[in-house]
């Protein structure tokens, strides 16, 4: 059963007076528990597709259905509320709030819930434990390495137990060792916690961890490869 259903999606951006087509009739299904890698050259539309699935952008035409809900028809406010409970974001540059420590950064999505302070504390401790940074709770981003920052960002992404985790080049700013650790972590979230992960990457090694790879070029799907043997390369 599909968790994400993209149906004939088109996306056109306006740049001054020009229309710039980015996605041209993409249709994709992502099953629950999938680890999908979106690959393709720059400008192929992979990040735009990720944005549409994550509910931070809307298609010009077509439908985006996640968990049987057509999120492409949601209002801005409804989309924000939907994202808060259904999507975890992992960014290339980590994008932690520099004035908050690790625990406070992880707690941010929980501030939008009705959880008590004690419950929020329990959730964030669990998330930081999963990423192996329970001992760095009080550290500020500037006091952490790039790999540690990204792990805090992953803890922030999973702390609300979202339906989907979206990641855009999560290892793009990391050294090889840290990248390896992050990919291991993502694989574990997928394998052990059955999280559906959709990841944009240029890196074939990163894509090897996914069990489903989509190749995009010039806004169209050019190849779809499903692997059954993807996994930890640790």
């Amino acid at each position: 059963m599909s968790l994400v259903d993209i149906r004939d999606v088109h996306k056109v951006y306006k740049r001054d007076s020009f229309d710039v087509p980015v996605l041209n009739g993409i249709s994709v299904s992502v099953p629950k528990g999938d680890f999908l890698a979106l690959m393709g050259p720059s400008g192929s539309g992979k990040t735009t597709l990720l944005n549409l699935i994550a509910g931070i952008d809307r298609p010009t035409r077509g439908k985006v259905i996640v968990g049987e809900k057509e999120i492409s028809a949601f209002s801005e406010t409804k989309l924000a509320a939907w994202r808060a409970t259904n999507v975890g974001f992992i960014f290339q540059m980590y994008n932690l709030i520099p004035v908050l420590n690790a625990a406070d950064n992880v707690e941010l999505p929980l501030l939008l819930t009705k959880l008590s302070k004690k419950e929020r504390r329990e959730h964030l401790e669990t998330a930081l434990n999963v990423v192996g940074l329970a001992d760095r709770m009080t550290y500020f981003p500037r006091q952490l390495s790039g790999g540690q920052e990204q792990r805090v960002a992953i803890a922030r992404a999973i702390v609300t137990d979202p339906t989907i985790i979206v990641a855009d080049e999560p290892t793009g700013d990391l050294d090889a060792k840290s990248a390896h650790e992050i990919l291991d972590l993502l694989h574990r979230l997928n394998a052990d916690f059955q999280k559906t992960i959709i990841m944009v990457t240029h890196d074939p090694k990163a894509a090897e961890r996914a069990n489903h790879v989509l190749q995009l070029d010039k806004g169209v799907l050019v190849e779809s490869e499903r692997r059954d043997s993807a996994g930890s390369h640790g």
Binding site: A80, T85, F91, Q92, I97, V99, L108, D168
Partner: protein, 382 residues
């Protein structure tokens, strides 16, 4: 509030900028609190209840035009008047022109009854009455020049060719007027009558019942309406306001200056707050991506900017209150400001103004952040 930590941390994320912004706001609100307190000081003095049973009678033409001395006896015949006294502005100075203060020639035997809000020890009052060249001075004035009872003080006339040679016989106490100088009208008249004729600047009337103030005022003016020297009679409050008006519309001037200062701080704070919002574009986009609604972003940023304004306003206003508690403004202003301080009303006004400043200055940057497209904001991130 669960967002408090985020707001506070953002508020002080750039400590130098926050310090400079707060310093600027604090300085301007210190200035505004000072201006408003000066106005409040005048209002308080005028509405203090002192002299509520007193009427001033002056020439209907202007305060500078004198009235005949003969009016005193005529006015005294009006029913309801308890006492009437002459009061002449002398306008002399002490030793040097810079040593200027309010000095008057007054009916020495009627001073205590007409100006019953001036407290003069009985023995000093008797000594003043008994000495034709006796003078009574305010405590601040005595302190400023080191005068003691028994000291001989000679003033130098400017308006009249007469240098009053007086002896300090008493030091009065008064709630607001702490720096005036009174001596005998008889002595003044004797020395200046060739020039002034039989005239005096003003008469002051104490009425028996304050309810009769309006009637008596009307009767006095009616009595001289068709004479060569028509009068205009005021309550003491009106008289003080008229006196203030002579040095310009202070209230309007101070209000306009205060508004200009606040407008200036709005513009400067708006620049600072725009910079603060601009450098957080990506953070705002991330917050929106993880589920913060536009309304939540707008609220958080407005609270942050309004808090900044409020802290700046509080620093300036409470700083002014503290400074004016520590500094004797009566001495600094040579008696111009008496019992000066920043009262609760002024503090409240400034704090409300500082909230408005935060709201106006931060409104646009906060709105722009709230309206930021997540994709546009993240374009710098992804």
């Amino acid at each position: 509030m669960k967002f408090a930590k985020l707001i506070i941390r953002n508020l002080f994320r750039n400590k130098l900028r926050t310090f400079l912004t707060l310093s600027l706001m604090g300085a301007i609100f210190f200035f505004v609190a000072t201006l408003l307190s000066i106005l409040q000081n005048f209002e308080t003095a005028a509405n203090s209840g002192e002299g509520q049973n007193r009427l001033g009678v002056q020439s209907a033409i202007s305060l500078a035009n004198p009235l005949p001395l003969s009016y005193q006896a005529k006015i005294a015949t009006i029913p309801g008047i308890a006492e009437i006294a002459k009061l002449q502005w002398v306008g002399a100075y002490y030793k040097e022109r810079k040593n200027f203060f309010a000095n008057f020639a007054v009916d020495h035997d009627k001073m205590a009854s007409v100006w019953d809000d001036y407290a003069i020890p009985a023995d000093q009052l008797e000594a003043f009455k008994a000495d034709r060249r006796g003078a009574i001075v305010g405590p601040e004035l005595a302190k400023r020049y080191g005068w003691k009872i028994g000291d001989r003080v000679t003033l130098i006339g400017q308006i009249f060719p007469f240098n009053p040679e007086t002896t300090i016989r008493g030091i009065y106490k008064h709630k607001f007027d702490t720096s005036s100088f009174f001596f005998h009208f008889d002595y003044f008249y004797e020395s200046t009558k060739d020039m002034t004729g039989s005239t005096v600047g003003t008469f002051w009337v104490r009425v028996k019942d304050p309810k009769d103030m309006a009637r008596i005022s009307q009767q006095i003016d009616d009595m001289f309406r068709n004479s060569e020297y028509p009068t205009e009679t005021f309550t003491e409050k009106e008289f003080q306001q008229q006196f203030m008006a002579m040095i310009g519309n202070i209230k309007l001037l101070f209000t306009v200056v205060s508004i200009c200062a606040i407008f200036m701080v709005v513009l400067l704070a708006a620049i600072t707050m725009s910079m603060a919002a601009r450098e957080r574009v990506t953070e705002v986009a991330v917050l929106k991506a993880i589920g913060f609604s536009s309304g939540t972003i707008l609220t958080l940023m407005l609270i942050e900017f309004v808090t900044l304004g409020l802290i700046g306003g509080a620093l300036g206003t409470l700083g002014a209150k503290y400074v004016y508690q520590m500094v004797n403004m009566t001495e600094v202003t040579q008696g111009f400001l008496v019992a000066f301080g920043v009262d609760a009303k002024t503090i409240a006004t400034c704090l409300v103004a500082s909230i408005v400043v935060g709201f106006l200055a931060g409104g646009l940057p906060a709105l722009r952040s709230a309206r930021l497209s997540v994709v546009d904001g993240l374009r710098k991130v992804w």
